[in-house]
Symmetry: C2
Subunit: 185 residues, 2 copies
Amino acid sequence: MTSLEELETEETVTCLHITLYHPRQEEKQIFRNLNFLKREQLRADEVAKFGRDTNICHYNLMDSRVSRVQFALQFFRQLNNSELGFEIKNMSKRSKLIVDNLELDYLNKVDLPHKCLIRFGDYQLLIQRQDGESVDYFETRFELAQDSLLQERHLPLMQPIPESGISPSLNSQGVKPIEIDENDV
Amino acid sequence: MTSLEELETEETVTCLHITLYHPRQEEKQIFRNLNFLKREQLRADEVAKFGRDTNICHYNLMDSRVSRVQFALQFFRQLNNSELGFEIKNMSKRSKLIVDNLELDYLNKVDLPHKCLIRFGDYQLLIQRQDGESVDYFETRFELAQDSLLQERHLPLMQPIPESGISPSLNSQGVKPIEIDENDV
């Protein structure tokens, strides 16, 4: 047996807490391949891909409306301060990926804010980063939300949605612009 | 036979022209797994990994001094202008990756300049991007240099190399600071 003295110093591991919501999540069982409420460890050099293709994606969304690869999360260290973070990249030619209020087209990427709401189609993912020290691993942990997460983020709809419907998902949910508390701005 | 009228409009493909140099490249046959002077096509969502591990890396360097994965190149579209580009990331815990004069530590990443010299250990890679239109594919093409590429880039050694030797590779090659022509600055 290894004594406590001989063990390597235990490091905390950066964890992405991901809360999922889809208006038809129960009926369609789209999240049935995800492990909920369990921390899952990935190597730092792995790209966490979300999408329909079970051969390519670590996290599968079982829905014909989801792209083969929908988006990817990449772990990295900031160049100047060595802080750990994530980059998110839209891998779908079909749908935009909305990070809070920023629209990413195919192959666009952006640094993931510490807490943010990701949207594509009818999907909503609230991602919150819990900072850790390890540069060898990161973790993910999924939760299911019972209600839309738009309220949670108090997200204003910054631009009117065009009739042509770039974001049909928002309309189909009947989401209205949300009043913002002055403290939230 | 498909007539010319029915064919899809042909797109140009972004190509990375990569010129390689290692002082012992002939003796050690480290580049024997690379295809030289041939364009190779990769899917836009593939990450081009360079390293020793043939199971993970698309481009193999057959050298025990090279890390399992040394670095990775990722194709992306700029957020504001939709220009196509590449990001380079150091995947080696053991050695720094030097992009022109910028030192990347493990998991650091940076946008790849249009033309730049990449260095790690005794390796030198001059990468030149030839712009294309396709967002589905990119290409690589390798060439072998007979001489060190440091002259080619007129790279000044901006900082004195410490005795402790962060960059032993530079010392072992006996590289001296290069005078820069005023026109190159």
